[in-house]
Symmetry: C2
Subunit: 404 residues, 2 copies
């Protein structure tokens, strides 16, 4: 008789954004006349850059002729894309990454979910709290998180590292020593960052404790301040302890186009075993590459036109972030983030819970945001708004909140 | 201190096709003047159909304008594609599948590798032998296969069901009862099929033993004979015991375009738990959809033009299969398959081992095929050739084999 993986049954409710989507759908059905503005899920709204569109058309044409048709991609991804990544994202910042240390994928969500597979079940993970749900849920599915404690809204075997206004959203070293540490910087959901100095201390801590850092840099392109590292490998020693994940979703609007990559330096080892080899084996066995045409689109992001055009997109979204931040601050809200990231993390007014504030905003202002508590216990009393809407909708939303 | 998943260390060598690729690369480097013909990996060579190209261009244009831009796709995939699948692949064959029983993915390789996650580690799997390596390797990575026995070239905890000329490539029910049964039909690598009657017996067997069948129908479009089921759901009771996987790779040349889907009927349960719900949770947490433009390309496969054009592609490849089959038979080789599948499975001459025959073919005829033993112990003494080359190369290859 077959048996299911009953770790799945321990998962509380459904994936956060699915829950929100269902709530919003129900509200819309009951109130068909209301115009709902979504500043909830971190999904982009601006079209793909012209350079990307051009590359896509060109690659599609290649696929229409036998001579230039492309079948299965190389296991790690096409070299043209890996080379563009190395030159632009790493070499340009003084970081030396080899071609076979980059693994092209269909996105950072898949990679950050699948990466658990190369680790044993008896590792203890530490996450910043609040946290992007995929890190925890993927570990819970693999039976690495203990039991879900309903009263604490937390897993018994996960080390939560609170990141709140009290510690300036910079996690303290935990009492119990973790084996695997998830860091997302710039942070989703708080929109805050770590300085190079603060991140370097975490690298030191990981090396001292033989822990590995899973570093999610999906929002790297939104960094505007000087002292914030774009890659963890800017910190000394990180190649011996860190895996870095990147995405084209937010820097180039690829949420519906799907492309990302993971860097695993060959210096990152457990005894004699390179984690790079394990991931290569996983990648070669359970994945079959991102589409050729999408990899060409990714390459175009690094062309001169592509860079200028995607930079303009980011400026557009960051202007929205400014509108939200300044608009809310003027109304007396306490806000965080939105300077190096497209997320604004706000303190709910009058001690209202995150989900209550979600309901108020949806019902009274027809605005969808994301309840902070959905990201972890320390997110309670906070709320996330994203800068990915249109400028018009963003302005309208702030106006509506003013009239709440 | 972090610990790796040391199940990975038990895996013998690297993924079969990576090994072959390395051997071929070494040969080409040492013999740059030789023109090597690949009838090895199952990769297509014909360009995408015009209807697919047109749909891709159109979808790319949609992505260039905010009004028609698409961000994150719905968790299960776009309804337009799921509906086309249901109407054409199922309803047209008298099978009733609901919209939320279909999960669009980036391909059947990913799905057949990832599906292990929703099952407990203490299931015993049964595979037909020879077998597509991903089924076993993905289970080995999850610690579900015991130890690899080098002398037997087999895993201690896997039930191998020999499929050889002796049993007409139809597996017998095994002595030990399995929990999960992998069946690929039409079969990769042997190119053979099961009749509806034979498959129905397996469905009955699975129901009687509360086992689940993972049914890989990636080559369904190549079926030419009447009595071969296109979907396992044509067999009574299959919805209570089978998961079906399909791919656009082989029927529409999407190996480098990446699209597939998995069907999990809601009737398939473990106690009260629907496997559909578990996969939905996995899909929503660790995957973020196939690209919008690729899903539109998939939809175009089901248009009238798309159907006619992809049918012509399949006819092209199946003509190659005929050339190989008849050419080899005329030379006294014993061949199987190639009638309902793009693979020809041949008995190596004079009791030569599969890998020796690989070397002979590569070095003396400059042809790349796949050693049968790479697919499992019962593949020893067999060899796989694929029909996915060009007609010219296929004819040339048969001519070269004649002159061996």
């Amino acid at each position: 008789m077959f048996k299911i993986n009953d770790n799945y049954l321990k998962l509380p409710g459904s994936y956060l954004f699915s829950t929100i989507a269902k709530k919003v759908a129900a509200y819309k059905e009951a109130n068909p006349d209301k115009e709902v503005i979504s500043l909830g899920i971190g999904d982009v709204t601006q079209p793909l850059a012209p350079a990307v569109i051009e590359a896509l058309h060109k690659a599609v044409d290649e696929m229409s002729v036998a001579e230039t048709f492309h079948g299965y991609a190389p296991d790690l991804g096409y070299e043209f894309l890996r080379k563009a990544i190395i030159d632009n994202d790493y070499k340009a910042r003084g970081v030396d990454i080899a071609l076979d240390e980059i693994f092209i994928s269909d996105g950072a969500k898949s990679d950050s979910g699948n990466i658990v597979e190369i680790f044993s079940t008896d590792n203890t993970i530490a996450v910043t709290d609040p946290v992007y749900p995929v890190y925890i849920d993927s570990n819970a599915m693999a039976g690495k998180t203990g039991d879900y404690l309903q009263d604490k809204q937390a897993w018994s075997d996960v080390i939560y590292m609170p990141c709140t206004a009290e510690n300036d959203f910079t996690p303290d070293f935990p009492e119990r020593t973790p084996d695997i540490i998830y860091i997302c910087c710039p942070n989703n959901p708080t929109g805050t960052t770590l300085t190079k100095d603060a991140l370097s201390k975490w690298v030191r801590y990981a090396l001292d404790n033989k822990a590995v850092i899973i570093y999610d840099a999906a929002y790297e392109a939104y960094i505007s301040e000087e002292d914030v590292p774009h890659s963890i490998y800017e910190c000394d020693g990180a190649k011996e302890c860190a895996i870095e994940m990147r995405s084209f979703s937010k820097n180039a609007g690829f949420t519906g186009t799907r492309l990302g990559f993971t860097v695993i330096p060959k210096a990152l080892k457990s005894g004699d075993v390179m984690l790079n080899s394990l991931w290569a084996r996983r990648h070669g066995t359970k994945f079959n590459g991102a589409p050729y045409i999408i990899q060409r689109a990714g390459e175009a992001v690094y062309s001169d036109e592509g860079k200028a055009q995607t930079k303009a997109q980011i400026a557009y979204y960051m202007n929205n972030a400014k509108i939200i931040r300044e608009g809310l601050n003027a109304q007396g809200y306490k806000t965080y983030g939105g300077v190096n990231a497209p997320y604004i993390w706000l303190k709910t007014p009058d001690g209202v819970t995150s989900w209550d504030f979600f309901d108020i905003l949806l019902e009274k202002a027809n605005i969808v945001g994301t309840p902070g508590s959905g990201f972890g216990p320390s997110g309670e009393g906070y709320f996330r708004l994203t800068a990915f809407g249109s400028k018009e909708n963003t302005e309208k939303a702030i106006e509506r909140i003013k009239n709440l």
